[in-house]
Structures are given as C-alpha cells and as structure tokens.
C-alpha cells in the first residue's frame, strides 16, 4: 500500500462526514506520512507512553483498550481503515490507554509537529479534525450505553451494526456480509462478558436466523430482525456534514 492510498482512505471518510473542500483535501494529501507494516495483535502505542505522531489506519483493524490491575482488558473501540484512532494524542501528550492491531495492518504515521503546523495554517482542517474527535467521543457515549444497559445479544448486534455503518463509508462491505475480525475472547473483552457467553450468544443469533459469525466475518440472515435487535439509531455517528 502506497502512502497515497493511506491518505485516500482518510480523505474518503472526511468527505462524507465533514464536507471537506478540495483545497483542504489538497492540504491533507500533501502531509508527509511514514508507512509501516504491523503484524496482528501488536501494540502500536501503550498506555503511559508519550506520543509524537498520530496513526492513520490504511489497511486492517485496530482496537483501543485499557487493562486493569488484575490483567482484565476492556476493549474501548474498534477502528477501521481511514480512521486516526489516536488523533487526541496531538493535544493529550501521554497515552491513557493502549492502541493495538487486531489484524496485520498498514499504518501511516503523521508527525505531531506537522499536524500542529497544518492546524495553525488552516483553520478549516483544524475544525474537521476537531469534529472527528468529537464524533469519536459520541461513539464512546454510545459504547457506554450499550455495554451498561443492553442485554448481551443486543449489545453484540449493536456493535456489529455500528461497525457495518462505518465500513460502508469507506466502501468495505459486501451485500450482506462484512469483516469483524475479533475472536470470541476479544468480543467478550469488548462487551464485558466471558468468551463462553459470547459463544452462546452467537449460537443463539444463528438459531434465531438473525446472523452468522464465522472466522471474523458477519453474515446477516435477516436484516429486519438484526436492526430490531440492535436498537440502532445512527444519529450519533454524525455521518453527514449537516448533522
């Protein structure tokens, strides 16, 4: 993957969510980016580490997570190509959680100093990135509601519908299936339930003819039931510039 392809994923997403102008796109496309390949399940930046660059996902999936004293890990969010999961590190200098890869990833790194100069030179781009981190916060609010209030089957369905909505923006879904490359244990860490409970929920959803989950891929069997179970309202994703 070339560094051009890395920038293109970001621009594609920003065009849909932020109504970015061609001039601003030009600014982003001219950013110097260092591309690095990462294997699956590798830490990109750790809790407590001082960040000097932001990470743009070009290919693959990442997660943000936090591990408590007894070793249990909470997955906080799932990230897809075109996203900058540690954009806040531009202003919050020491990481307060981990960013790691789920799958093999192509990551583009943008130096903080470069981004800061772009922010100062071009307030439009600064606003777009600000909006991006606010949407990030909106997604965290929804994640809290989901994990705190919905029963396990709806909780899983909600995470799946959200992921599909976001993958759609970057053109990465098929007719009725999409990637969600998490193991049952990782899904458990995201939803706050055990891997065995996840296994049971997945069986139940298949038995009920709603969806299948196999080797990190979701296939929707009944779209109406899937939507109803997930109790999903996409408003919090703010996927158009006017919302």
């Amino acid at each position: 993957v070339s560094s051009d392809a890395v920038r293109a994923a970001l621009v594609r997403r920003l065009r849909i969510s932020s109504g970015i102008t061609d001039e601003d796109v030009g600014e982003i496309l001219s950013l110097p980016i260092t591309v690095r390949q990462y294997p699956a399940e590798r830490t990109v930046i750790s809790d407590g580490e001082r960040a000097t660059e932001c990470c743009l996902i070009a290919e693959g999936f990442c997660v943000r997570s936090k591990t408590i004293a007894d070793g249990r890990r909470q997955i906080l969010s799932i990230h897809i190509p075109g996203e900058i999961p540690d954009l806040m590190s531009l202003f919050l200098h020491v990481m307060d959680h981990d960013l790691s890869t789920l799958t093999p990833c192509t990551l583009g790194f943008i130096n903080h100093e470069t981004l800061r100069r772009l922010h100062q030179r071009n307030p439009n781009v600064a606003e777009i990135f600000w909006r991006d981190t606010l949407i990030d916060a909106a997604m965290f609010r929804e994640w809290i509601v989901n994990v705190g209030q919905r029963p396990a089957p709806a909780r899983l369905a909600h995470v799946m519908v959200e992921l599909r909505e976001r993958l759609k923006v970057v053109g990465r879904i098929a007719a009725n299936s999409f990637d969600m490359p998490l193991t049952q244990e990782q899904i458990g860490e995201a939803l706050g339930i055990t891997a065995v409970h996840v296994n049971r929920v997945i069986r139940q959803l298949r038995e009920d003819g709603i969806l299948e989950f196999h080797r990190g891929r979701v296939t929707v069997l009944d779209e109406a039931k899937f939507q109803e179970l997930a109790d999903f309202d996409n408003r919090y994703l703010h996927q158009s510039p006017s919302t």
């Binding site: 029963p151 055990t194 891997a195 065995v196 296994n199 038995e207």
Partner: protein
Amino acid sequence: MPRYYFDICENHHFVRDDDGQDFADQNAARQEAIETVASIAGEGFARSGSRQVIINVREGGAPFLKVSITLYVEET
C-alpha cells in the same frame, strides 16, 4: 492447552457446545464457567423470566464440572 466444552441449559433449553475453547488449566475453565453462569443468569432471570441456568463442562470427552444457579422468589 486442554480444550473445554461448555454445554449450557437455560430453563430446560439445552445447547451443546461443539466448538470448545482452550484454557490454561482446570482452574481457568472453572472460573470461566462460574462467571458465565452468573452472567447468563443475571440477564435471563431479570429480563426473560428464566429460573435456572446450568453449565456442564467437558474436558476433552469426559465430564468435568457442573455449575448451576436457580432462582427462588417467595412472597413472605
């Protein structure tokens, strides 16, 4: 790592686990069974009127552990 199978029965609805999962040892599998039965019961009892959850754990082909929770509600 040994493979454990968790057959789950909620309100007499039995679901056999043919996939299984690896755990470091029997203690880890026991802990998983206890957490899972509590978490399924917590949701099922409160939301769908379940009264009993049982998990039978097999290690390889052999029975290893049975964990169950039953809800009793009495008017006093």
